[in-house]
Symmetry: C2
DNA sequence: TTGTAAGCGTTATCAA
DNA sequence: TTGATAACGCTTACAA
């Protein structure tokens, strides 16, 4: 390449300042020169150097995205939502994977500062005080996605879904179907939103209906098929009375748990009902189709990106807010209705 | 921030050149000054500005990735492989989605040129002459991933899997299980690697065994559940003799086709066997578990990134090569063995 | 071994 | 309305 603004200026017989003005529409330029510049740009197929531009404007039109694992479809969909907003605005998106490790997350924060990104969307696992402290003294604004601050401090702008409420509603739905013995296979303990919050939702809903939650009814897993399988195995082996329904915190765990139940000779949903979380592809196409809590991660990505742009635009913008996207209970064949009149399944 | 190399130089009481030398390890610096500089960097928490650096070195340590859809797990896994290599090398990855549209692909090529990326990994759908011509006169090297050049010109470095051979092997496996009437639900017609090449593999394998391929046995789809479902429906309704096995070009299509077969009252695999492609999560967890062709998209991403770095390092590097990663036939419950002695299932 | 100064390709500030 | 020219923050000859 190596065709610079000077080449264009020479070609159009104007100064480089004029070329710059035409490109950026920043000041009035006479129609004649304007036309000359445009044709010179075309003729030389000039592409302004974003590095030189960024050096002086202090804007790179790049935003960063930190997620734990891009191969996880949940994050794929989230990223797609983010991308769509950024592409519309002409922004470039830099994707960074943290493997869910605090150390990597912190390192990425620094690396992205070096890259001079204009803003960051951060999806952590356990967003603790250390992380937040660090984020608050960065040069670029950060919006949390998918995950709230642990300890509920809420010092940063956050876009997520209401994990506690979503789980609460799911349990409520199971109860409305006549279930009273409901087990729970949750997320990892150190995962604030998907571990603690969802467990809390389970406990609150059970308590509301005066139902018991024996220790053998509560398992934790890493969202995988195997975790669902082994969680269900323990529930099966250690519970005095088998649950009639199991709520798992990911569709994949629910499917693992169903597989385990089938291996034990139980039929689904007659002997035991299952409920998942996320509403991924798997849920629709499993047999029986899985009832689940639908979270639109795409919408979440879109909203988070929009919030980020908002806080980038309003320079002062130290807004701290949590915005939840709505969830929805999706009723499919994996849940049995034990009574004739079931309640309204939609949240 | 605004802490620059000058601040560090002042703090350490040296020149900015010395600071630069220490940072980049580019020339001998006395241990004493070196130490002073390091502590000054720490004290000021200085982060070099990559824009200023890139402006002069003409390297941004950024590579681009163009894919059609990041929410597609295949591309998620591919991207993960790419990321792992880039992260090790300290490179930043910019993800761009093209929706599989030629126009967007071309626009992204330009946009990424403006971004001054150091190299590009390109996963297209129909990589035709126009696209390749354009790529060959870019300032940065490009490696094709997942998709070969249409028309088989092979003017660019390519990392993919052998679609024709993989399909051939899958059909061969079905034949070895005793199947002789085998239908095929392929990818979109305009998709060179997954449409044409796989169909060719099917035809060659069938011909090799002297088996017929009536028009009613061949369908095309867009890899979706619904495409598999409706493809199977047409095969069912229009074929004189029903096939005993169906090969679909994605796991999702295979699962859609299975669902359709079940709805028709057929049992799987007794009445009809099914074979998928990709070996995604779905295949493992469907009922019955799906036999499929495993493609390691992660490895493909890794290899592609390595090839890109190779051609970035060797400046001349106009290598043009196709490198295939190996595939593997995965045998699961969805395929029935019609004869006692089946052949070796692994490719 | 160290420092000075000339770029890199833009935008922004002044004069004209 | 236009054009010089000084930044922006770094790397890299060239001098010392």
């Amino acid at each position: 390449m190596a065709v610079t603004i000077e080449d264009v200026a020479r070609e159009a017989n104007v100064s480089i300042a004029t070329v710059s003005r035409v490109m950026n529409n920043t000041k009035a330029v006479s129609p004649e020169l304007r036309e000359r510049v445009f044709s010179a740009i075309r003729k030389t197929s000039f592409r302004p150097n974003v590095l030189a531009r960024g050096l002086i404007t202090n804007r790179t039109y790049t935003i960063g995205v930190v997620i734990s694992d891009i191969s996880n479809p949940v994050f794929g969909v989230l990223t797609k939502g983010i991308n769509s907003v950024c592409q519309d605005r002409g922004y470039t998106v830099v994707i960074c994977e943290s493997d869910g490790k605090r150390k990597k997350e912190l390192a990425l924060l620094e690396k992205l500062a070096e890259q001079r990104i204009d803003g960051l969307l951060f999806a952590g696992v356990d967003v603790n005080r250390e992380l937040i402290d660090r984020m608050l003294c960065l040069d670029y604004p950060v919006v949390l996605v998918t995950q709230e601050e642990s300890y509920g401090e809420n010092r940063m702008m956050t876009v997520s879904h209401d994990n506690q409420r979503a789980t609460f509603d799911a349990i409520d739905f199971l109860v409305s179907c006549g279930h009273r013995r409901i087990a729970f296979i949750g997320g990892p303990v150190n995962d604030y939103s998907s571990g603690e919050k969802r467990l809390e939702g389970y406990r609150l809903a059970m308590a509301k209906h005066g139902l018991e939650t024996p220790g053998t009814y509560i398992e934790h897993g890493d969202f995988s098929f195997d975790a669902g399988f082994s969680g269900m195995k323990r529930i099966y082996e250690e519970s005095e009375k088998l649950p009639t329904a199991v709520m798992a915190c990911s569709d994949l765990m629910a499917i693992g748990a169903m597989q385990c139940a089938r291996n034990m000779g139980l039929s689904i949903p007659e002997d035991v009902s299952f409920m998942g979380f996320d509403d991924s592809e798997l849920a629709r196409y499993s047999t029986p189709a899985l009832s689940t809590v639908r979270i639109s991660y795409y919408d979440e990505g879109v909203l988070a990106a929009e919030e980020l742009f908002r806080s980038m635009d309003s320079d002062n913008g130290e807004e701290t807010n949590i915005r939840y996207i709505p969830h929805k209970i999706i009723r499919r064949g994996s849940v049995n209705c034990l009574r004739a009149t079931a309640g309204n399944p939609t949240a």
